[in-house]
């Protein structure tokens, strides 16, 4: 099976989340994965792009969110890159801890980790943060 790759570069605005989700839905339909896996990927991509737009690029439309989609023989890999300063994922509070359950935000990374098989972050020395997410077939 050949590796299919799609790359997108989108401006940092809220509408980008839906644009990215539509592109990913089309990509996923070609990747022939289960409906459940497709739902999880959609969810994780929306959260990753939302984080990139809001927290990474802080809705600065001169900054872009770069998305790379790869259909690998045994998995689908998605990378979302922003131009922000980065953060430490272990500093993000657990939204299911009793004191956080009624918080109105802070569940995005939890959903990404819940729905994908692997999620990791790379703070790039030249600037920007990349979150790489893998969903096995």
């Amino acid at each position: 099976m050949t590796v299919e790759t799609t790359e997108l570069s989108l401006p940092s605005r809220i509408e980008t989340v839906a644009v990215a989700a539509a592109a990913v839905a089309e990509f996923v339909s070609r990747a022939r994965i289960s409906e459940d896996a497709a739902f999880g990927i959609d969810m994780a991509v929306r959260e990753a792009v939302t984080n990139a737009v809001l927290h990474g690029n802080k809705k600065d439309e001169s900054k872009f969110v770069d998305i790379t989609l790869k259909s690998l023989p045994d998995a689908v890999e998605i990378s979302v890159h922003d131009q922000g300063p980065g953060f430490n994922p272990s500093d993000v509070p657990d939204p299911t801890a009793e004191e956080n359950i009624l918080k109105t935000s802070g569940r995005g990374i939890f959903f990404m980790r819940s729905f994908m098989d692997e999620v990791d972050w790379l703070i790039r020395p030249q600037g920007g943060t990349t979150v790489r997410m893998l969903k096995r077939r």
């Binding site: 959260e47 935000s105 819940s114």
Partner: protein, 115 residues
Amino acid sequence: MAELNIAERQAGDVTVLDMSGKITIGEGSVALRTAIRRLLEESKKRILLNLAGVGYIDSSGIGELVSSYTAINKDGGQLKLLNLTQKLQDLLTITKLLTVFDVYESEVEALNSFK
């Protein structure tokens, strides 16, 4: 077509919002927030969200449900949920919010629970 459609009806002193579409960051979340704020301004504090037609919700939408719940409680009202799709029920389960919200599968039971 709007991302989230909300139709309001009255069942006794309970306001039912029949919702269909997506509650996601941007338009969907804002539509829910606007509807709840308006009801509270009109002193309609017993609110049942019929989510049968909501096929998709993201973390922003979940946050908006929590925000609605706390705003209504703070105002002395009650917010209950009706007809969750399996996906939404799964999301509320993993976020432990299913233990917070009062959830019903029958509208009659939901309406009776306000009494």
